[in-house]
């Protein structure tokens, strides 16, 4: 029925537009107010991250011991920490680290997960068994525990935390793609592609992959949120970014001893984590509604 309903859409305005499906998705995304708020938050943080060196009042490691643990004021909008560093500057720089970890680790998970998921879904049989059982084993561990284990093997650093987060997210994407491939494989246009004489590789990349992208984009957006939390958690545990990097989780850990005297040292990095994660989650939910045809029915 969805097909029929779409057929009735006005055809004139859509003629010859190759981004048509995305435009339709954007139209339905726009209607969701919360999703637009999420998108706005994400854009603000991306802007902060990109322009951090130009807009921050102080450097990330400008220590002024005389000014330590100052409350928010006109000079230091968000106060200072125990080394007298400007928290606003550090939070803004922290956005760079968190977003970088979020995007890169999720892209890594998507690439590896898609590859494995496609192999498992398309070829089936023993390939599927091996890959799926491997995913099951990875999912049997609580993800943060697995991340801690991987980081302790690789050694604590921001890069290794990023790798660990990418690895623990692989099975989520792998399973998603596998199930999508399994259903698309049965579609008649894939049979048609075979009948035309296409190679498997072409069928996979031109027919199956483009048709399974929508849930990947949704899951990817939501996974960025989780990745940011996980990076912060690893940072908090001392397994992620190393000092003096202004990583939000690390900042929380460093300031936990001053919780009573100077709560702002902990409050603002925490708010930053919460806002970015909230932004990505709202945006992800909106994308799901806009891109997932099952939600439309």
């Amino acid at each position: 029925m969805a097909e029929l309903a779409r057929n009735n859409a006005p055809q004139k305005s859509l003629r010859g537009n190759s981004f048509l499906l995305w435009i339709e998705a954007w139209k339905s995304f726009k209607k969701n107010k919360l999703a637009v708020v999420g998108l706005f938050i994400v854009i603000v943080f991306i802007f902060l991250a990109l322009s951090a060196p130009y807009i921050t009042p102080e450097g990330i490691n400008d220590q002024k011991l005389a000014d330590r643990l100052l409350p928010p004021s006109s000079e230091h909008w968000l106060g200072t920490d125990d080394f007298g560093r400007d928290i606003l500057s550090r939070v803004i720089h922290g956005a760079r680290i968190s977003l970088w970890v979020g995007f890169v680790s999720v892209i890594g998970s998507i690439v590896v997960g898609c590859f494995l998921g496609i192999l498992a879904g398309y070829y089936g049989r023993w390939v599927d068994t091996i890959i799926s059982r491997f995913f099951d084993i990875m999912l049997a561990f609580p993800s943060i525990l697995l991340a801690i284990a991987i980081v302790s093997v690789l050694g604590p650093s921001l890069r290794n935390a990023l790798i660990a987060i990418a690895i623990i997210n692989v099975p989520n994407f792998g399973r998603l793609i596998r199930s999508k491939v399994l259903s698309i494989k049965q579609e008649e246009y894939v049979t048609a592609a075979k009948a035309i004489g296409m190679r498997d590789r072409r069928i996979l990349f031109f027919h199956i992959l483009p048709n399974s992208m929508a849930p990947i984009i949704v899951q990817g957006t939501l996974a960025i949120a989780t990745a940011i939390i996980e990076a912060a958690a690893l940072g908090f545990l001392g397994l992620g970014a190393e000092p003096p990097a202004p990583e939000w989780g690390k900042m929380l850990a460093d300031s936990k001893n001053y919780l009573v005297q100077a709560p702002w040292t902990m409050f603002f990095p925490g708010i930053a984590i919460m806002l970015t994660v909230l932004g990505f989650n709202l945006m992800g939910d909106g994308l799901r509604d806009a891109l997932d045809p099952r939600m439309k029915n």
Binding site: N7, E188, G197, R199, F206
Partner: protein
């Protein structure tokens, strides 16, 4: 003498049923069971039967979209059944398929231009510029316009989409087209347009069709010879004129008596079949039709009838006509 383009010899396709704790094979569905026929160049060969009788599976197994369990398929004197996958791909340039569901058989993320260009890319035909030109020409050949090229499938009606499906099948200039119920998903008014289009294209491109359908009226209109399938087997094969005038197999008789005739005053004997088609995973012994056959005899329950030429060009598998065995 017309040339034989496709020859199918004792083709079988059994699908395994897996079950039990270990997922071992516990049975099989005999979707196509020992089917033999030939298709001559330039003709339209009809394959009819009720749903689930294995006619679509036959079409797909011919193309090795399903691997046949047993038997031989010869196309243009080349055996398809033992070709490697890459050799098979080159043959696919000459054998194309039109699908039943025009909504499902086109990739929703590709423009019509891409859909039609792809067979050319795959078979390395022409330069990009030539290919664009060929796409435009083909769109016009099937009754669409050049400005349709940039649109997506969902912007078309069912009939238009089926035209796109037909255009895609014709891009590589094939010799044989397997049309798997190409009109059964369309409105009756559109059906005739598409049938006429197929007819015109056959003349223009000297095509051979294997036309799979369950609508005998449609088949009569378009086919030269017709094979009737029941439970994975061909029970009768003849040219369509003979088959419609004088059906031999009781199943064909019953099928034909169910075709509506646009004359309210016309009275005829209506043969009603009782019961359901038996499960192809457990077909009855002897003649597979004996459970529903109004003329069932003792021999039908035990001996499988041979598929024999009763009159010239009229083959049937039924004990009623088997001269050697008649008592």
């Amino acid at each position: 003498m017309t040339k034989t383009l496709l020859e199918v010899e004792k083709m079988k396709k059994y699908f395994p049923i897996n079950g039990g704790i270990l997922g071992r094979k516990i049975g099989e569905v005999k979707a196509v069971d020992d089917v033999s026929f030939s298709v001559f160049e330039g003709e339209t060969f009809g394959l009819v039967g009720e749903s689930g009788c294995g006619k679509s599976t036959t079409g797909r197994t011919l193309l090795r979209l399903h691997e046949p369990t047993d038997g031989k398929v010869k196309f243009n004197n080349q055996e398809l059944t033992n070709l490697s996958l890459s050799e098979l791909r080159t043959v696919r340039r000459d054998v194309q398929m039109i699908f039943q569901d025009p909504f499902a058989s086109l990739n929703p993320r590709q423009t019509v231009e891409k859909i039609l260009e792809e067979p050319l890319i795959v078979h390395k035909i022409g330069t990009p510029k030539e290919r664009k030109q060929m796409v435009i020409e083909m769109l016009e050949t099937v009754g669409l316009s050049s400005y349709h090229a940039k649109r997506y499938p969902h912007q078309f009606s069912g009939g238009q989409r089926q035209r796109i499906g037909i255009a895609r099948a014709l891009m590589t200039k094939p010799k044989l087209i397997i049309a798997d119920e190409p009109v059964s998903a369309l409105d009756v008014s559109i059906q005739s347009q598409i049938l006429n289009l197929l007819d015109d294209l056959q003349k223009a491109f000297s095509l051979t069709y294997i036309f799979i359908a369950h609508d005998l009226g449609v088949v009569r209109h378009i086919c030269d010879r017709v094979a009737v399938m029941y439970l994975g087997k061909i029970v009768e094969l003849s040219n369509s004129e003979k088959l419609y005038k004088k059906p031999l197999h009781p199943y064909t008789e019953a099928l034909l008596s169910s075709v509506p005739i646009p004359d309210p005053t016309y009275e005829r004997e209506h043969i009603e079949l009782s019961g359901e088609m038996p499960s192809p995973s457990n077909p009855p012994k002897g003649c597979s039709f004996h459970t529903r056959c109004p003329h069932s005899m003792d021999i039908c329950k035990t001996v499988q009838p041979e598929f024999e030429e009763i009159e010239q060009d009229h083959y049937v598998a039924c004990h009623l006509y088997n001269k050697n065995e008649q008592l």
